[in-house]
C-alpha cells in the first residue's frame, strides 16, 4: 500500500502514533513532501487536541488581578462575581455549598472549580486539591505544562522549530497555514507565534476568511486581550454564522463579567441556529454561574429536548431534583446516565444516594460497592462519606463512624467528614474529641456553616461563651439565614449585655 495512504488510514482510525511514525519516515526520504508534513502536523495536533470552547481555566492571577470586568460591584443578579441569592434554589441548609459560594454543581468542567477569593493570601492558602477549589497559579502556567507534555511526545526534539519558521511564507500558503496554526496553538501552546501566523494569514486572504478571524480571536483570548477577541469574533460572525463563533464570543463576555450580554448573544445565536444544544447549554451554564437555579433547570430541560444524551444536562437536573427533595426523579435521571453507558465512581455514588433517599434500599449498597470498586484515591473519601450518611440513616452509628474514619483515611482534608465525626462524638459524650473535630472542619472549610455552628453550640453548652460567640458569628456569615445560629447569637448578645 502506498505509505501516504496508509498514514491517512491510521489518521482516520485515530492511530496517531503509527501515523506520525510513518510520516516521519516519509519526510526522512523527502523533506519537501508537503502532504506528509501536513499530515504529520495534524496527527501530532490531534494527539493533544482539546476543545477550546470548554477550556475556561482561570488561575489565581487572573482572578485576583482582574481588571476586565467593568463594574466592580454590579447589581446582584447581573454579575458572575456576586452570585445573587439563589432564586428557586434550596438554601445552604439543604444543599452543600462549594468553596466559590455557589451550590455544589452537578457537572464539572475545567474552570468551574475555581473560586473568587478575597485576597491573594486567602487564594494561596486554600488547599488546591481536586475536591476543594483548584485555582491554578495562572492559566498560562497550565498551558506551559501542556506544552511540556507535548514535548515529551516527540523525544527527538520538536518537529517544527518555531524560532526559525518563516511566518510570512507559511501565511501565504493556505493549504499549509491552517494545519500549522493548529499545531502551534494546541501542540506547542505558543500563542505569540500562533498570533503572528494568524495575522499574516488573515492579511493574505484580505480579511475574507472567517476561520482566521476566529483563530485570531482565540489567540487574543488566551493572551487576555478580551476586547480584541470580541472584535474578531464579531467580525467573523458578520461574515459567516457558525455555532462555534457564538460560543467563543460568549466566553469572552463571561470573562468580562457580563453574563446578561452573554445570554443575549446566545439567544441571538439561537435565532440563527434554532434549538442548537450547545448554545442552550451555554445559557444554562451562565445562569448557574449567577445562581439563578430556576432558569438553569429550565434551560437544561430545553437542552434535553434537543439532545437527550447530554450528560451535563442530565447530571445537573438530577442534582437539582435530589436537593429539592425529589430523589425518585433524580434517580430516574441518573439511571438514564447509567443506561447511556456512563460507568464511573461519581455516577454510582449518586445512584446509591438517590436509591437510599428514594427508599429503594435493595439497590443502595450494591451501588456503593460498585462506586468503591471504581474509585481512585481522589474519589474514595466522598464515597465513604456518603456511605456514612446512609449508615446514619439506618441508625448504625458504628458503621457511620467507621465510614467517616475511612473517608478521612483516603483524604485527610475532608471537612464534612470531620464535622460529622464531631457530631457523632458529641452524641457519645466525648466533648474534647468533638471540639477537635469541629475545629479541624472549620479550619479546612471556612465557607461551611455547619462546623462553625456546631462549635458554637458546643462551646455554649460547655460555658466558653467567647469562642461560642465568635463561632456563631462565623456561622452567620457563611449562611445568613440560619435561624439557629441567629438565635444563638442574639441570646449570647443579651448575655454579654447583661454583664
Amino acid at each position: 500500500m502506498d505509505p501516504l495512504f496508509l498514514a491517512y488510514s491510521y489518521f482516520r482510525r485515530r492511530k496517531y502514533e503509527q501515523c506520525v511514525e510513518l510520516c516521519s519516515q516519509l519526510l526522512d526520504k523527502n523533506p519537501y513532501d508537503q502532504a506528509a508534513w501536513s499530515l504529520k502536523t495534524r496527527a501530532l495536533t490531534e494527539q493533544v487536541y482539546i476543545d477550546e470552547v470548554d477550556v475556561d481555566e482561570e488561575g489565581i492571577a487572573e482572578l485576583i488581578m482582574d481588571d476586565n470586568s467593568i463594574a466592580q460591584v454590579a447589581r446582584p443578579g447581573t454579575s458572575l462575581k456576586v452570585p445573587g441569592t439563589g432564586q428557586g434554589a434550596p438554601s445552604q441548609g439543604v444543599r452543600p455549598m462549594s468553596q466559590s459560594g455557589r451550590p455544589l454543581t452537578g457537572f464539572v468542567r475545567p474552570g468551574t472549580q475555581s473560586t473568587r477569593p478575597g485576597t491573594m493570601e486567602q487564594a494561596i492558602r486554600t488547599p488546591r486539591t481536586a475536591h476543594t477549589a483548584r485555582p491554578v497559579t495562572s492559566a498560562s502556567g497550565r498551558y506551559v505544562r501542556l506544552g511540556t507534555a507535548s514535548m515529551l511526545s516527540s523525544p527527538d526534539g520538536p518537529f517544527i522549530n518555531l524560532a526559525r519558521l518563516n511566518m510570512p511564507k507559511y501565511s501565504a500558503r493556505p493549504n499549509l497555514a491552517k494545519s500549522l496554526f493548529e499545531y502551534i496553538f494546541h501542540h506547542e501552546n505558543d500563542v505569540r507565534n500562533a498570533l503572528d501566523l494568524a495575522s499574516g494569514a488573515t492579511e493574505a486572504c484580505q480579511f475574507q476568511d472567517w476561520w482566521w478571524k476566529v483563530q485570531l480571536g482565540k489567540c487574543y483570548y488566551r493572551l487576555g486581550m478580551y476586547r480584541d477577541a470580541e472584535k474578531q469574533f464579531k467580525s467573523a460572525l458578520k461574515q459567516q454564522d457558525m455555532v462555534d463563533t457564538y460560543l467563543y464570543l460568549c466566553k469572552v463576555y463571561v470573562r468580562l463579567d457580563q453574563p446578561l450580554t452573554a445570554v443575549e448573544v446566545y439567544k441571538q445565536g439561537l435565532q440563527r441556529f434554532i434549538g442548537e444544544a450547545s448554545l442552550l447549554t451555554g445559557i444554562a451554564r451562565v445562569y448557574e454561574g449567577m445562581n439563578d437555579m430556576s432558569n438553569t433547570v429550565q434551560f437544561y430541560k430545553d437542552v434535553l429536548h434537543q439532545d437527550n444524551m447530554s450528560i451535563e444536562a442530565i447530571a445537573c437536573i438530577g442534582t437539582h431534583y435530589f436537593y429539592t427533595d425529589q430523589p425518585e426523579i433524580a434517580l430516574k435521571f441518573y439511571r438514564r446516565l447509567l443506561q447511556m453507558g456512563v460507568y464511573n465512581t461519581e455516577l454510582f455514588n449518586n445512584l446509591g444516594l438517590c436509591c437510599f433517599y428514594a427508599q429503594q434500599y435493595d439497590m443502595t449498597l450494591t451501588c456503593f460497592e460498585r462506586a468503591l470498586s471504581l474509585a481512585s484515591d481522589d474519589n474514595m473519601s466522598d464515597v465513604w462519606y456518603n456511605i456514612g450518611h446512609v449508615a446514619l440513616g439506618i441508625g448504625d452509628l458504628t458503621l457511620a463512624y467507621q465510614s467517616f474514619r475511612l473517608a478521612l483515611a483516603s483524604n485527610n482534608d475532608h471537612a464534612e467528614a470531620y464535622n460529622n465525626l464531631g457530631v457523632l462524638e458529641m452524641k457519645k459524650g466525648r466533648l474534647e474529641m468533638s471540639r477537635a473535630f469541629f475545629q479541624a472542619a472549620f479550619n479546612l472549610a471556612p465557607h461551611m456553616y455547619e462546623p462553625h455552628y456546631n462549635f458554637a453550640s458546643m462551646s455554649d453548652k460547655v460555658g466558653d461563651l467567647q469562642s461560642s460567640f465568635n463561632a456563631a458569628r462565623r456561622a452567620s456569615d457563611a449562611f445568613s439565614d440560619h435561624m439557629d445560629s441567629k438565635q444563638l447569637l442574639s441570646s449570647l448578645r443579651k448575655h454579654f449585655a447583661m454583664l
Binding site: P96, F107, P110, T148, P451
Partner: protein
C-alpha cells in the same frame, strides 16, 4: 422547600410546664459527586501521562 400551604401550629397554653431548647448539632449534607466533562477527563489524563513519562525518564 416551600409549599403553597401554610400550617399554623397550635401551642396550648394550659398544660405546658416547661420548654427547653437544647443546643443541637447540624450534620453536613450528603454530597452528590459532580460528573466530569470529557474535556476535563482528557486534560487530567494527559497531565497524568506526562507526569508518568517524566518520572520514567528520571
Amino acid at each position: 422547600s416551600e409549599t403553597g400551604l401554610q400550617f399554623h401550629e397550635v401551642l396550648p397554653r394550659n398544660g405546658q410546664v416547661y420548654q427547653e431548647d437544647l443546643p443541637t448539632t447540624v450534620l453536613c449534607k450528603p454530597k452528590l459527586m459532580p460528573l466530569k466533562s470529557v474535556t476535563l477527563e482528557r486534560l487530567e489524563k494527559m497531565q497524568r501521562d506526562a507526569q508518568e513519562t517524566v518520572k520514567e525518564q528520571e
